[in-house]
């Protein structure tokens, strides 16, 4: 059976999987659902840990990078990023 990857990206309130989800994105390699920007106001899981409990496998998380000297108060992108995947088999 062919296999396809589904990717879930969660941005958390602090850098631990027990933290609350504050931003999210889903990319469905099975083609069953087309996700797009602004398509849901409620996160798919309350925390990162809840995603693990539902079978998502963590494969990447953001590193803790010390702020550059002189730039300690500069704010930018969301910091606490976690990439998960599910591999699905099917007749795609």
């Amino acid at each position: 059976m062919p296999k396809r990857q589904k990717v879930l990206v969660l941005y958390l309130k602090f850098p631990s999987l027990e933290a609350e989800v504050i931003s999210w994105a889903t990319f469905d390699g099975t083609g069953q659902k087309l996700h797009m920007t602004g398509d849901s106001d409620e996160p798919p899981y309350p925390t990162g840990l809840d995603a693990l409990l539902d079978g998502w496998r963590l494969f990447q998380s953001s590193q803790a990078i010390p702020e550059h000297p002189g730039e300690e108060f500069r704010t930018s992108y969301l910091k606490h990023e976690f990439f998960f995947e599910k591999i699905e088999e099917g007749d795609f």
Partner: protein, 306 residues
């Protein structure tokens, strides 16, 4: 006479990066604008580009060289001149970017409904989140003024925006990977609504699931003077004294500082504190009070004795 913004409205802008004036422009001017651009039903539109080119060719919306003073930008008695002369619109512009602001650019955004995409066999997607233009670390800020000539219903996918993101320094579509952000909002408004965004506010267009074309006319304005107390020419604003932190009195009255220190559900626990610090720095710039503080955030870390 123009109606300058109140200190509370300025604080709301400093904290959220946006202000809205719901249904401000009268229906007659809204109709005049729609007639001027040749608005029609979607059934009459076969090609988005042609429709857009017709608007550019026949409407009174002029070509404005970048850097043109706003006061010279629009033809006499045109709908857009009337909008910019509205006492509330003019007052908000003067309060934020001054009376000598110049036009950076303008654009009429059209968002076509689902039936157009079906008819033309195209995929209908929302616009990704982005911050306009390019990475912009200035203290000076521009504003983007949005005018909605028709009602915008929830189905019409009005501009999605993320209050409180305006002071985060990012590079345009570098934020496109955030499909959804907690606390995201979509503009749902009456015809004639004016929205004003800080140039740094994260945003994107939604999908139009209605049967109508959605229009949003945007002008980016740049100041030519320092943006200090422009809303308060008599310089009446005075910073509030320090208050007790954490171990506080009950039933304290809400003040302008509470507006400035509002948090948002998308903010991380750690960076939320930096967002507050940057809002205080922004308020220092807007008020001209260089040592002003709120909740001791800056005094604490500026107390360097070595």
């Amino acid at each position: 006479m123009v109606k300058l913004l109140s200190t509370e409205q300025m604080a709301e802008f400093a904290n959220s990066g946006c202000l809205f004036f719901d249904g401000l422009i009268d229906n007659e001017t809204n109709k005049e604008f729609l007639n001027d651009i040749g608005h029609t039903d979607i059934e009459n539109v076969d090609n988005m580009q042609k429709y857009f080119q017709n608007i550019k060719a026949s409407s009174s919306i002029p070509r404005i060289p970048a850097g043109t003073p706003l006061k010279n930008a629009y033809p006499n008695k045109s709908p857009l001149e009337k909008i910019f002369q509205n006492e509330v619109v003019a007052g908000a512009i003067n309060s934020l970017v001054g009376s000598e602001a110049v036009v950076d650019h303008q654009f009429l955004h059209l968002t076509f409904p689902t039936k157009y995409f079906k008819k033309t066999n195209q995929r209908q997607m929302s616009q990704v989140n982005h911050q306009d233009s390019t990475i912009d670390p200035r203290i000076t800020f521009d504003i983007q003024l949005f005018y909605f000539p028709t009602d915008v219903t929830k189905e019409m996918g009005g501009t999605r925006y993320h209050p409180g993101t305006h002071l985060r320094i990012v590079n345009e579509m570098g934020i496109a990977k955030y499909q959804n952000i907690k606390g995201q909002k979509n503009i749902v408004c009456k015809a004639g609504t004016i929205g004003i965004f800080h140039n740094g506010l994260w945003h994107g267009a939604g999908v139009n699931f209605s049967d109508e074309i959605r229009y949003m006319f945007k002008v980016r304005l740049q100041p030519t003077e320092k943006q200090e107390l422009l809303w308060d020419p008599e310089k009446k604003y005075k910073p509030l004294p320090n208050k007790a932190l954490y171990w506080t009195d009950e039933n304290q009255e809400k003040t302008v500082n509470d507006i400035l220190m509002k948090s948002y559900p998308w903010q991380e626990a750690d960076t939320n504190r930096l967002d507050k610090i940057n809002t205080i720095k922004f308020w220092r710039m807007l008020t001209g009070h260089k040592n002003l503080d709120i909740d001791y955030w800056l005094t604490r870390i500026e107390n360097e004795l070595y």
